[in-house]
């Protein structure tokens, strides 16, 4: 039985039997993989905290016949700041689900791991969770080669200005209004929203906290990326419904208006 160590972010976990858990992790050097955390549901288990989603830990695993086994864990960051606010939890879970949906098992990608980790630290630092999510979406798409083209019209190569433009996930970018009828899957958005996509493409993660986007531009950018991601995955992510639901809560975590 081979043992190895993996710098990992826990993506999700499911209960197994009476006391155990199966965790899905994204490891920097090993990629996405599943492992069983024996006894992790027992009170006082040393593996309990490290098998919670949204935890960055150094995990010690041994290869098993069917599934690897988590033997020891050393938590590096449990992101308590994210977990104490319903809005940041919702976005944090969304980042994990987004990454998990795009990557295959055992396909290491240290750059993408670092992007996820830095995005989680940005969320932890109190940055706008919506901007952080847009940043991560863009960086993930760039890293995996699915980056949508926001700079120029895909048909005439003209730079995008402030006028309304069509965003087509099938084409993977923008078609300007002068280039005739856009593809059937296109949505119309103000060209200004693409400026913010360009800003997020090249920014250092630690500067995201200082960013302020107009709400309408952020919404339009979110819509374009959501359509693009849906086109690539061919399904909607489950955690987006929860993000929409907690959007009704104010900064204190209270629902402003009773339903």
């Amino acid at each position: 039985m081979r043992t190895y160590c993996a710098d990992s972010i826990v993506l999700r976990r499911i209960d197994l039997g009476e006391k155990d858990r199966i965790i899905t992790i994204y490891a920097r050097e090993q990629g996405k993989l599943s492992a069983v955390a024996k006894g992790a549901r027992r009170p006082g288990s040393k593996l309990a905290g490290a098998s919670e989603p949204l935890t960055y830990a150094r995990l010690f695993l041994s290869t098993g016949r069917d599934i690897d086994v988590l033997t020891q864990a050393e938590i590096r960051e449990s992101f308590t700041g994210i977990k104490q606010n319903i809005s940041t939890v919702a976005y944090g879970i969304y980042l994990l689900e987004l990454l998990s949906s795009f990557v295959d098992e055992r396909q290491p990608n240290p750059e993408l791991f670092d992007t996820l980790l830095s995005s989680l630290y940005v969320l932890e630092s109190g940055a706008d969770p919506e901007i952080t999510a847009r940043y991560f979406e863009l960086q993930l798409l760039i890293d995996l080669g699915y980056e949508p083209h926001f700079d120029r019209c895909l048909r005439c190569d003209k730079p995008i200005g402030r006028e309304k433009v069509a965003f087509s996930p099938a084409l993977g970018g923008i078609v300007c209004p002068e280039c005739g009828v856009p593809p059937a899957d296109a949505i119309w958005v103000p060209g200004a929203a693409t400026t913010y996509a360009r800003a997020l493409r090249n920014i250092e993660p630690q500067k995201i906290k200082d960013l302020k986007f107009p709400p309408a531009a952020l919404r339009d950018l979110g819509l374009m990326l959501k359509w693009h991601i849906r086109y690539r995955l061919e399904y909607d992510l489950r955690s987006t419904d929860f993000i929409d639901m907690v959007a009704k809560f104010d900064d204190n975590g209270d629902l402003a208006q009773m339903r």
Binding site: G44, A50, I75, I93, R238, S239, V246
Partner: protein, 198 residues
């Protein structure tokens, strides 16, 4: 392996139970073959009885065989305090302490965005309905200290606080008999955050 048809059916039914694999299913089925007919009938009747008589209490959503569960029917319980738990087995765990004399509300699960379990799938609307008569003064959120349990607690707190009701969360941190040296960082951070003056 080839079983006689009725035995194969029993093995396949056992295999559907949580945590039961093919080997365990086979062991249980052979055990049933060995016991006498009365014992087998008692087992079959017990299974049928729970399906026939056990319902959810219309007030707290705990399991009961009465029109209202024992706790909701007990006039001596304190109706001003409501303990919110995720599963009926959590009521059993709380009752074993003999410390809590208030009422319960069973949500029937926890919010889990990745599994597609949203608040509308839990008994949260019914919890809000219990607040309308003003009898409840405090809500204790006793969901598990997991990301789903904490999210559920935050969601419910967000709904209830504007109503002016006191909302509290069960303490998190070191387990009784635990060893500081072996506690993970997440537990110690929680223990520090939820510390109290003595």
């Amino acid at each position: 392996m080839h079983y006689a048809k009725p035995l194969a059916k029993l093995v396949s039914e056992f295999e559907k139970l949580p945590g039961i694999g093919p080997k365990s299913a086979q062991r249980l089925a052979f055990h049933i073959l060995r016991i006498n007919e009365d014992e087998a009938r008692e087992l079959a009747n017990a299974v049928m009885d729970v399906k026939q008589y056990i319902k959810l209490c219309p007030v707290c959503f705990n399991y009961t065989d009465q029109p209202r569960c024992e706790i909701c029917s007990d006039a001596k319980r304190d109706r001003s305090v409501l303990c919110v738990v995720s599963e009926p087995r959590d009521v059993v765990a709380m009752e074993k302490t003999n410390e809590f004399r208030g009422m319960y509300h069973v949500l029937g699960g926890v919010i889990s965005p990745m599994d597609g379990i949203g608040p509308e799938m839990l008994k949260i609307r019914e919890l809000l309905a219990r607040m309308t008569d003003g009898e409840v003064k405090e809500i204790i959120l006793a969901t598990n200290p997991t990301i789903e349990g904490d999210t559920t607690a935050m969601y419910i707190a967000g709904l209830l606080k504007p109503l002016g009701v006191k909302v509290s969360r069960i303490a998190h941190g070191m387990p009784v008999g635990g060893d500081m040296d072996y506690a993970d960082q997440a537990t110690l951070i929680q223990a520090l955050q939820w510390r109290r003056e003595i």
